[in-house]
Structures are given as structure tokens and as C-alpha cells.
Amino acid sequence: MENCKTIFDAAEDVLEILGSQRIEAVVIGAVALAAYRYVRQTQDLDLGVNANIAQLRSLADLLKAKGYSVELCEPDGDDPLGGVIDVRGPFGLVQIVSFADRFPAVIDEAVRVSTLSVRAGSRLKLVPLPHLIALKLYAGGHKAKSDIVELLARNPDLDVESVRKLCRSYRLKGLDKLVTEAGR
């Protein structure tokens, strides 16, 4: 529990540093899956952002100056992600995952329409469920597809048609098969 509080605190600190560079973020990954009723073990908290390489380098320097252990992984031209910064400490791992120049629209829109936060009073916004599904569909692979099936099965109140519409707007394919598999 203590570690958990600490990772929230670290992520909120990272969010403040992102904000100082005018970079907005939403919580994605396994923490977002847990928020939407698919609870599985995770030791890291992922923040989805749109930051180009120059911004990521600058962020990495700022985080190092704040005392964090930081590793910047820069993408090659074919990478579906725009870069990842691993921020480590006694709290665990906070990952900053950039979708800049790849799939920025989903992060921009998620930031804009997000209404949930990770805990009361926190500025750590959670990616909305339809956008989380879109991100998983973009990621592809068996694990991401399995995550989508679980999310659909565990959120019976979710308006599947709105998810279809969102994924179509992003030209993402493959949702219908997963909807059928989830028994929706």
C-alpha cells in the first residue's frame, strides 16, 4: 500500500514536470485496465503523451535533475511509438510513452474528454475506456487483443457502438471479431 501511494506521488510529480513543458498526459496501460475492472498485476504506471524527440530529451534531463533514475528509449523510423522514458525510483517505474508523430489524435482526444482520475483529488487523468480500447487495437498482438476482450466482457454498460465509431474514425480495424469473442 505504501509503495502504491509512492508511485501515485511520483507520477503526480512527473505530471507536474510534463506540465511545465506544456505536455499533457493520461494514464494508460495496466493501471487504466484495473480502473476499468480488469485487475491484473502491474508494477508500473504508464503515462501516454505527445512529445517529440527534442521534448523527450529535455524531459529526461529535467527528470534527472530532480533526482530520478531516467532512461530515454528513442524510436527508429518504423516504431509504432514516438519514444519511451523510464523513470525509476524506490516507488517502482513510471513510464512516459509518446505517441507523437504516430497516433497523437488518441492522446489529444483522451486528454480532452477524460473525466476520471486515479484517486480523489489527483490530477492524474485516466484515459477514457473507448480510447484505451483504441490504443490496444493500435498496439495489436495477442496480449492487447486479449485485454480488449476482457475490457468488453467486464464493462457490460459500455456503448460498443461508440467504441466502433471511435475506432473507425482512427481507421483501426479488427474490433468486431473481439466484440464477438467477448460475447457482446
Binding site: V31, A35, R40, T42, R154
Partner: protein, 61 residues
């Protein structure tokens, strides 16, 4: 044609959804639905430490 006294071969019921596994999943979904967002996230982040005793050990130990 089955001969008198011949046992019926039972095949494994694979490729079919399990009703009891579905019922178990529904129970888990109900449990998680009653939790707050913060409680769910906390459970995911602390799961590793709660089940640390289940880490595999060598058979020689």
C-alpha cells in the same frame, strides 16, 4: 456399430465455453465492480507483494 458391453468413448469437451468458469468470472466481475477506481488500481499495483510467497523456488531447496 457398438458391440454389446463395449464402453462408450468419451471425448474431451474442448473448444466449448465452460459454464462454471463463466460463473466464476461473473463473481469476480461483481467483486471488482463494487470497488472504487482507486481500490482497483491499488489492488493491481500491490498484487505482486501480496503473492510474493508464491514465487517459484528450486526443488532442491
Amino acid at each position: 456399430m457398438k458391440k454389446p458391453g463395449e464402453k462408450t468413448k468419451r471425448t474431451l469437451p474442448s473448444g466449448r465455453r465452460s459454464a462454471c468458469a463463466d460463473a466464476s468470472l461473473r463473481g469476480e466481475i461483481d467483486r471488482v465492480s463494487r470497488m472504487t477506481v482507486e481500490e482497483r488500481i491499488t489492488e493491481a499495483l500491490t498484487m505482486g507483494s501480496r503473492f510474493v510467497a508464491l514465487k517459484p523456488t528450486s526443488a532442491k531447496d
